[in-house]
């Protein structure tokens, strides 16, 4: 079994070689006054179609002749990087100034950017989630969150009867009800910020001064539920991000394909003897 590091080295080496070959070919085409933009355009189109096919491959998992999804992802990543290089050659190291071409340019970098972001997320979030603690199925998180909320509410309601005091229940209504009711601090969790949790715990410290020993015990239980809920939110935030980025990447990809097609038609319609 090849290690990931060895695979990365091999793929990067291959990519470098292919890029050098393309640059050499590009230089030769330019020197010999060939329609370089058409050549690089077709290379780009081929690469983009291949990259889009990955989504279809995912739906045909029962055909082993197509290769594994992991292999396709590797092609997707490295051909994606190659496409950036081909694009830079295609625009001849210039930023376009026409409206249509600018839109195309923005779309291309939106796809590339979301892809790079996707890779960053898919490498970072699983590690963070695993280190944080037990992971949960995304679909189960709302149920678990509800269960935590019910447990806390039961603790709070029971404490009213047991202690004849509403300090805890007032605190729950003011500070904790919303916290336990829905996902909290999504962005904070994505950026590894502990401030919201710390702030909430500070609030808990404040109210603790006004509690008797029985209530303090209940409060300690609530604190452990706060931490459980924090982990649920953490897992939710990262899994939401892991699922969500594709909802940007894929639609933008299809938009890019349509724009590219129109661009190709226009280029051939108005090449004006450039061929």
């Amino acid at each position: 079994m090849k290690t990931f590091a060895a695979r990365r080295t091999q793929n990067l080496t291959l990519l470098t070689i292919v890029c050098v070959v393309l640059y050499f070919a590009y230089s030769v085409w330019q020197a010999s006054l060939k329609p370089t933009n058409f050549y690089t355009g077709w290379i780009l189109a081929g690469c983009m179609i291949f990259l889009t096919l990955y989504n279809m491959r995912k739906k045909l998992t029962f055909l082993p002749a197509l290769g594994s999804s992991a292999m396709w992802l590797q092609f997707h990543l490295y051909i994606g990087i190659f496409t950036i290089f081909a694009f830079v050659l295609h625009v001849n190291f210039h930023i376009p100034n026409g409206i249509f071409e600018s839109a195309l340019f923005i779309l291309f970098f939106a796809v590339v950017g979301s892809g790079v972001l996707g890779i960053f997320i898919t490498r970072r979030s699983p590690r963070l989630m695993t280190r944080k603690g037990e992971t949960f199925l995304y679909e189960r998180i709302p149920i678990l969150r509800k269960r935590v909320k019910d447990e806390v509410e039961k603790l709070v309601f029971d404490s009213i009867e047991e202690t004849n005091s509403t300090t805890l229940s007032d605190f729950y209504l003011k500070k904790l009800h919303v916290y336990f009711s829905r996902p909290q601090n999504i962005l904070g969790h994505l950026f590894e910020s502990h401030t919201p949790l710390r702030t909430l715990k500070n609030e808990v410290d404040v109210v603790e001064r006004y509690l008797d020993s029985n209530e303090k015990e209940v409060l300690q239980d609530i604190v452990s539920y706060i931490e459980t809920k924090d982990n649920l939110d953490y897992q939710y935030a990262h899994q939401l991000m892991l699922k969500g980025w594709l909802f940007f990447h894929i639609p933008v990809t299809y938009a890019l394909l349509i724009f590219s097609f129109v661009h190709g038609v226009l280029a051939y319609a108005f090449h004006g003897g450039g061929m």
């Binding site: 995912k58 045909l60 029962f62 699983p126 149920i143 509800k146 892991l242």
Partner: protein, 671 residues
């Protein structure tokens, strides 16, 4: 009209048919559906018939109502929706006014012996079997009324005939039945060394998988409803398709094969194939009909019941095992390959056959795991005199060494592994004597063959060339290196924490354990979708399970080396695939008793209610209760290219790992 079926777990709590326009659900007794349980509000939810249809509305701020997986405030219900009000689930069935509801298909609840093993078995044939040894000596009164001897023979056995040269069982195949010889004789053909007969001679062919077109067709032919079955298939009573039975494979060039390979001769009254059938292991030899013969083939459930009631037969089988199989097994072990026939006889006579632990270890393994290593049955102990070489025949054993005040697991040994050879070889060659360097403990149950030290020193060790002898032990270094398996590097890669976890929880049993590297898994569920696509839209595993460090062992059938799920199956529905050894469920003969699901120590078998093609539950005709079937991962046995889950993982996070191969595990962990 709306029908609501309320369930709590698997238990049906109640079935309600309503024609009125408003249905209240909650804890109070005046509700139409009363769910008395803490956490459920007094008026939890209601269902009201409005212009759009039946509308479910949450009534209390503190309550939660899910439709499918989605928490709702209010929504229009559709036929087939499942409402969850923890811990209850309510299945919705809506009949539009004037609509004739499709009648749910009803079938008889399958029972043990609903599908006899032999379709043409009759009382006369049973009587005929009972006139032959060893059945004629069995005391019928020892059997229960529920499972009488004649009943077992009628339903769990069949008479089969083979012509001279026909292969009856093949080495390496998995089988769920044993054979008694009624008439004629057979030859047991052993391979040379560990090679076995070549596949071409054995008529092996690759298992037929789906073709490309039928694989592609799954895209549009998969059912939309879960667990859809063809109800008509359950009304058939034949366990095999007609015409299949006579497809015999004939061993080519029989006389020369018999001359070339080691063979043993078995005659009337003798049994073969029982070890593989009872111990859930592959067949160890090929058996060929020596002439035109008649056999009783008995599935292992029947053999198990007969062994339990008939002591004579049990003793008979054990005696035959010692006479035949033990010798074959010893003969096949490389350590003994230089010995003469007479020397082998001496070894067979002196070999001690012992079993440690409980054959049905799955019953209390979770408690046993909590009790820890100290409570595991000890086979051989560190610092004891090396009394013999231990050969693991079946099951698993933990190899450990004292560390501080506890024991550190170094490895686990499975069938074919040897323990104690280094120490005995060392003592034979060196004046400086050593004790056992490690302890060996039974994990679950372990069958062990023990060759006494004196036999090893007098016969075996002198026959081994010096290069085959293990290195001398340096006691000062022994604690640092595990010469027995030379797996120090692998152990370092796997890590003690994971190793202890795998052994303690018996995950070492898996031959296709689904391991997920959580540091790479993006929770995209492509694996689950691929599994569903390959199984009529029914995923066969849960991407969830015990976690240790960064590894998750998902709830997917591990296709165990020792599949204890097969132990209690009354019909043999759960069985090993004869060619590749996957543990699979025959949906037709499964009676939904859940014995396998309860026996599986890893919770990898689920019981599901099945539906017909229109989405209605298939009901038992007497009680109107849904028919239940066991379902689990089949390792995509009928698909092209093996498990779809592994191929679908884009991030190389998921792998099906054979736990008997530590190297694969170590390389995957350290990847």
């Amino acid at each position: 009209m709306i029908q609501l079926v309320v369930k709590k777990g698997r238990e049906t709590f109640g079935e309600f048919d309503f024609t009125k326009d408003k249905i209240n659900i909650g804890r109070l007794p005046q509700n139409d559906i009363v769910l008395s349980m803490g956490g459920i509000s007094r008026k939890h939810a209601n269902i009201e018939l409005q212009r759009d249809g039946y509308v479910l509305t949450k009534m209390s701020e503190h309550s939660e109502v899910l439709v499918g997986d989605e928490s709702i405030e209010s929504c229009v219900l559709s036929d087939g929706d499942v409402i969850t009000i923890e811990p209850f689930t309510i299945r919705v069935s809506i009949q539009e006014p004037g609509e004739e509801k499709a009648t749910a298909e009803k079938i008889k609840r399958p029972k043990r012996w609903a599908v006899p093993y032999g379709e043409d078995m009759s009382d006369e044939k049973v009587d005929y079997i009972l006139t032959h040894a060893p059945f004629k000596d069995i005391d019928e009164s020892a059997f229960t009324a529920a499972a009488p001897l004649k009943g077992i023979l009628r339903n769990d056995a069949r008479i089969v005939k083979y012509n001279s040269g026909n292969i009856i069982i093949r080495e390496g195949d998995y089988g769920n039945s044993a054979f008694f010889i009624l008439q004629g004789s057979v030859k047991v053909v052993l391979g040379k060394g560990r090679q076995g007969l070549p596949p071409s001679l054995l008529g092996r062919s690759k298992k037929k998988s789906k073709g490309v077109l039928s694989a592609l067709a799954q895209l549009w032919t998969n059912n939309k409803m879960p667990e859809v079955r063809n109800a008509k298939a359950y009304n058939q009573t034949s366990s095999k398709k007609k015409g299949k039975r006579n497809n015999r494979i004939t061993l080519q060039g029989v006389p020369s094969v018999f001359d070339k390979y080691n063979t043993a001769h078995l005659v009337e009254g003798q049994i073969f194939g029982e070890i593989a059938a009872m111990s859930r292991t592959p067949r160890t030899a090929t058996v060929v009909a020596n002439e035109d013969i008649e056999l009783v083939e008995i599935r292992w459930q029947g053999l198990r019941d007969i062994r339990k009631r008939a002591k004579e037969l049990k003793e008979h089988i054990d005696k035959i095992y010692r006479q035949n199989n033990l010798r074959f097994q010893i003969q096949e072990t490389p350590m003994f390959r230089n010995l003469s026939s007479e020397q082998l006889d001496i070894i067979v006579q002196n070999t001690i056959f012992e079993t440690f632990g409980d054959f049905e270890w799955n019953r209390d393994f979770k408690k046993a795991a909590k009790r820890g290593i100290g409570k595991e049955p000890i086979i051989a102990q560190e610092d004891d005199y090396p009394s013999g070489v231990y050969m693991i025949r079946s099951g698993f054993a933990r190899l450990s060494q004292k560390y501080g005040h506890g024991h550190r697991t170094l490895a686990y040994l499975g069938g074919g592994h040897i323990y104690g050879l280094e120490e005995i070889a060392h003592n034979w060659r060196s004046k400086k004597q050593v004790c056992f360097q490690k302890s060996l403990r039974a994990v679950g149950y372990t069958d062990v063959l023990i060759i006494p030290t004196k036999i090893m020193e007098d016969i075996v060790l002198p026959s081994l060339p010096p290069k085959d002898l293990p290195e001398l032990i340096d006691p000062s270094k022994a604690s640092k290196k595990n010469e027995a398996l030379d797996n120090t590097e692998q152990l370092e890669k796997i890590g003690s924490h994971l190793m202890e976890f795998l052994v303690e929880n018996r995950f070492i049993n898996g031959t296709a354990t689904m391991m997920i590297n959580l540091e790479r898994c993006t929770r995209c569920d492509d694996c689950v979708r691929a599994c569903a696509a390959a199984h009529d839209n029914n995923p066969k595993f849960l991407r969830h399970g015990p976690q240790v460090d960064q590894v998750m062992i998902a709830n997917a059938c591990m296709h165990c080396a020792d599949p204890v799920c097969m132990l209690g199956c009354p019909t043999g529905a759960i069985h090993r695939d004869a060619l590749q050894g996957q543990v699979i469920v025959n949906d037709i003969t499964c009676i939904g008793c859940a014995t396998c699901a309860n026996s599986c120590p890893y919770n990898n078998i689920r019981m599901v209610e099945i539906r017909d093609s229109s989405g209605n539950f298939i009901l038992e005709n007497e009680t109107n209760k849904p028919i239940v079937k066991a379902t689990k991962c089949d390792l995509c046995v009928d698909q092209l290219g093996g498990p779809a889950c592994q191929r679908a993982c884009p991030h190389d996070a998921l792998k099906r790992i054979d736990m008997t191969n530590l190297e694969t595990l170590a390389n995957w962990i350290s990847r």
